[in-house]
């Protein structure tokens, strides 16, 4: 951190611990379950895309997505990597230079799609990494 930064901190608090605590207090509020990094529902409908004449199955699939805060302190349900745990703390100390970890998929799953081709042959194929199964802070 720069000297200017230290001056600002001195203005705001008497000790780095208090500044950290303050920030921690603020971040802890945003780390509660409602805004924390987690999986959200997202459904992709082949039927609504008008594809029911050539896609036999499925009618659609739950792709899901990850969203939420990865702030200090990272809770157990956030599936954080050890590195992410360290990064949240560093972000707290140095927010301009080190970002918070990202809320992203930790486990992805394939789906199988059954469909006709132009010649009315039927194809069954597995497509990897189509569905988010769990999210975490990276």
């Amino acid at each position: 951190s720069t000297g200017r930064r230290r001056q600002q901190n001195r203005n705001r608090s008497n000790s780095p611990q208090e500044a950290t605590k303050g920030s921690a207090h603020t971040d802890y509020n945003s780390s509660d379950q409602k805004t924390a990094c987690r999986k959200h529902e997202l459904y992709v409908s082949f039927r609504e895309l008008g594809w029911q004449d050539w896609i036999i199955a499925p009618e659609g699939y739950a792709a899901n997505y990850c969203d939420g805060e990865c702030s200090f302190p990272l809770n157990a349900h956030m599936n954080a990597t050890n590195h992410a745990i360290v990064q949240t703390l560093v972000h707290l100390m140095n927010p301009e230079n080190v970002p918070k970890p990202c809320c992203a998929p930790t486990k992805l799953q394939a789906i199988s799609v059954l469909y006709y081709d132009d010649n009315s042959n039927v194809i069954l194929k597995k497509y990897k990494n189509m569905v988010v199964r769990s999210c975490g802070c990276h």
Binding site: E41, V44, S45, E48, I56, Y115
Partner: protein, 261 residues
């Protein structure tokens, strides 16, 4: 049914449930087609609203894959044998474990050669393998034909069913044939008959000009040639869900790199 892309998250009340605009729909379609590895949206020609045997078979495999993803392999096998044992067999599901893709092929041509008693009756089948995606290699292939029970004229009779690969065609005489398999069947037998045509299919993919189709012929135990239809083999004029077809299991032989849009 409120939209193409729905976000059911109750924690984001400001997310609007809405139908995609035309441009958004087109973008979504393009992106998903790209993921599926398709250059364009397929436009199959389907004769009726009902599925024939090939889609039904593939639907069985699809359901077994979906069940397998959810539960233990042993559990899904026991489930499978109680649902539709006459269609996809355990044999096929074993191929499925190793396959990246399964494809069933429509029979393009079925000629019933009803000839004089002195000549050999046979049925011909042809499949178009030219649309197989690049980078996929056949690991197993089957020709499937349904046999119905026929006891009226052939009580206690057995048939010798032979499947041939056509290796040469001639306008003025019978085709040159290569015997793939012969099988003795009871007239009273009923169910799907599967014939391994893996090597034949690989040849057809590597050398499309060698793809002259298959022939099947049937003889009685006394050596008389009879039409496959008389022996109970279902053809094009039979029930939709019992039409003959070909199925192939594939494994990726090269990594497909998706081009950036």
């Amino acid at each position: 049914g409120s939209g193409s892309v729905l976000d059911g998250s109750e924690l984001q009340p400001n997310f609007i449930h809405r139908r995609l605009r035309n441009q958004e729909k087109r973008e979504m379609q393009k992106e998903i087609l790209s993921i599926l590895g398709l250059n364009h949206r397929p436009r199959p020609h389907l004769n009726s609203g009902k599925y024939n045997s090939a889609p039904l078979f593939m639907l069985d495999l699809y359901n077994s894959m979906s069940t397998e993803e959810k539960s233990d392999v042993d559990q899904y096998r026991s489930l499978f044998t109680t649902t539709r044992p006459a269609l996809a067999s355990l044999h096929d599901t074993e191929f499925l474990h190793d396959a990246d893709m399964v494809m069933s092929f429509v029979n393009l041509v079925e000629n019933d050669r009803e000839l004089s008693p002195q000549r050999r009756h046979h049925k011909e089948f042809k499949f178009n393998l030219s649309q197989i995606p690049e980078g996929e290699a056949i690991t197993a292939a089957e020709f499937r034909v349904y046999k119905e029970c026929v006891t009226r004229a052939f009580r206690n009779e057995t048939f010798l069913l032979s499947v041939f690969q056509v290796v040469g065609e001639h306008p003025d005489r019978d085709a040159d044939l290569f015997l793939l398999e012969s099988r003795r069947l009871w007239a009273a037998e009923e169910g799907w008959l599967e014939f391994d045509i893996t090597a034949t299919s690989n040849l057809w993919v590597m050398s499309p000009h060698h793809n002259l189709g298959l022939q099947i012929s049937v003889e009685t135990s006394s050596g008389w040639s009879i039409s496959p239809k008389e022996a109970g083999l279902v053809g094009r004029d039979g029930a939709l869900e019992r039409q003959p077809f070909m199925v192939a299991f594939f494994k990726v032989s090269e990594v497909r790199i998706r081009t950036a849009r």
